[in-house]
Amino acid sequence: MRTSATPRSLGWLLLPALLVLALFLGSVVLLFLNAFWTKDGVSLVYFRQIVERPDYHEVFLRTVSISVVVALASAVLAYPIAWLLWRLPRWRNLLLVVVLVPWLVSLVVRTYGWLVILGPKGFLNEALRWLGAIQSPLPLIFNDLGVVIGLTHVLMPFSVIATLSVLLQIDTRLEEASESLGASGLATWRRVVLPLSLPGVFTGIGITFLTSMGAIVTPILLGGIRQKMAGTQIYQEVVYNFNMNKASAWALCLLLLSGLGLMLLRALESALVPKADR
C-alpha cells in the first residue's frame, strides 16, 4: 500500500533492523578475516592445519554421517505424528502443545533427560535390570548411538511442524476423489497424500540436517569426549584453546559442508518431487 504521500523519512524505521544485520554481517566478515588473514597476508595456513589432520577427517565424516542419519530418522519418525495431527483436527491444538513444548524447552534440558534415561545407572538400564532382562548395563550413551538418539529426539519437532504445515495445505477433495474412485486408504496415502507432503518432509530434512551439523551440547553430553563432532571441536578451539583463527576456519568448513549438503538435498528434491507439486 502506498498512501498518497509516503514520506521518505519512514526509511529511518529500517535503521534498527539494519544495525542488527550489520552486527550479523560484520561477524561473518570477521569469520572470513580470522580464517584467512595472517601476519603475512592472506593464507590458507589455518585450513591446512585442519585438512592435514587425519583425525579431523574422521570428525567431519562423523558429523556428516550422524547428521544424515539424524535428519532421515527424524523425518521418518515425525511423519506419523504429523499425519496424526492432520487427521485429528479437533485435537490438533492440544496435540500441538505436546509437540511445541518439547521443541521449545531448552535442548540442554532435553539432552539431560536422555542422560537420565540412557545412562549406565539410568532409568532404562535400571528398569531392564529390575525386570531381569540384563545383568550389566547396556552402553547406550558415550557413543554414536547416544548422540543419534538424543539429536533425533531434539530435532523431531522441527520435522513434525514442517511436514504438518504442508499436509494442512492439501485439498481434502483430492483424498475424497481418490477414495470415491476406489483407492484404498493406504493407496490414497501412498499415491496422493505422500507425494503432496514430500516438500514438507524435505524442508524438515534440511532444517534438521543443518541443526545437527552445528550441534554442540547434545554431542558433548551424550557422545562423551572421544566422539567429537565439528561443533564440539569448534567449541573446544574457542573456549579451551582460545584459537579464534582455527575456530573460524573450522566454522567456514562447517558452513561449506552444510551448504553442500543442502544443495544436494535440493537436487534430490527436484528429482523426486514433480514440479507441479511444489
Binding site: 500500500m1 498512501t3 504521500a5 509516503t6 519512514l10 524505521l13 534498527p16 533492523a17 542488527v20 544485520l21 552486527l23 550479523f24 561477524s27 570477521l30 569469520l31 580470522n34 506419523p80 505424528i81 496424526l84 491444538n93 500441538l96 505436546v98 509437540v99 511445541l100 513444548v101 521449545l104 531448552s106 535442548l107 540442554v108 534440558v109 533427560g113 536422555w114 534415561i117 545407572k121 532409568f123 535400571e126 528398569a127 529426539h153 519437532p157 511442524i161 504445515s165 504442508v166 495445505q169 493406504l186 543443518l210 551439523m213 552445528g214 550441534a215 554442540i216 551440547v217 553430553l221 561443533g231 569448534i234 567449541y235 574457542v238 573456549v239 579464534m244 573460524s248 566454522a251 562447517l254
Partner: protein, 266 residues
Amino acid sequence: MNAPLIKLGRAGSFALLFFLPAPILVIAATSFAAAGYLRFPPGELSLRWYLEAATDPRWVEAFLTSLGIAGIVAVLATAIAFTGTYAGHRLKPRWLPAFELVVMSPLFFPHAALGVALVNVLALTGHLGTAGGIVAAHVVVTLPFAWRPIAVAMARIDGEIMEAASLLGADERRLALGIALPLARSGLVTALLFTFIISFDEVTVTMFLTGPQVTTLPVQIYAFIQENASPVLAAISTATVVVTLVVVMLLERLIGLEFFVAHDPA
C-alpha cells in the same frame, strides 16, 4: 483401508507423539524423588531439590539473568521487527525481498558457526562475557522469528483503512502507532512470546558468550551436568520447562498455535 490397520497406525503414531515429551517427564519425575534418582519401585516424594535450588544464589541469579535477558531481547526484537516490517510495508522498496532474505539468513547458519562468528565481533567490541553482548547476539538469533509473524500480520492489514486514516488527517506517528500497531497485534504478541522463549532456552550460541560475570540458566545447567550431575539439576530443569509451558499456553490462549503450522500468505 481395513479398520484394524488404521487403529494400529493411530496407536503407533500416538506412541511416537508421546515419545517427544518423554525425557521431560522423566526429569520432572526425578525432581520430586527424595532419593534424587528414579528407582523401582518409586521411593519417597519430596520438594527438597526445589528448596535446595531456590536457596542457592547461583541458581537464583542465573534464573533471574535469563528471565531479564529474554524479556529485553523479546521487546527489542519485536520492536525492531515492527519498525522494519512497517517501513517495508509502507515504502515497498524494490530491494525489500533481498533485505528480508538477509534478515532470515542467520537461520541458515549452523549454530556452532554462528557462535564463533558472534564471538569474533563481540570480542572486537569488548562485549564478550557481558549481558549486553548476550542480548545483542540473541537479537540476531531471534529477529527472524519476530519478523515473520509481524510481516504476516502487517500484510493482512487492509490498505484502505490506512488510506482512510491518512485522509482524515492522521499523521505518520498516528498511522504507525494508532492504526498499524493495534491491527498487527496478533503478530506482535506471537513475536514477543516466541522470541522470549527462544532467548530464555537458547544454549548453543550463548555458551560461546558467557563469562565469569554473567551466565544464563541453560548454560549453567550445561556446566553443572559436566561437573556434578546433582538432582538439583532436575528441579532447575523442571522450572525451565514450566516457564516454557506457561509461555506456550499463553500463546495458545491469546493467539492460537496455528501460526506455527500455517504457511505464509506471502
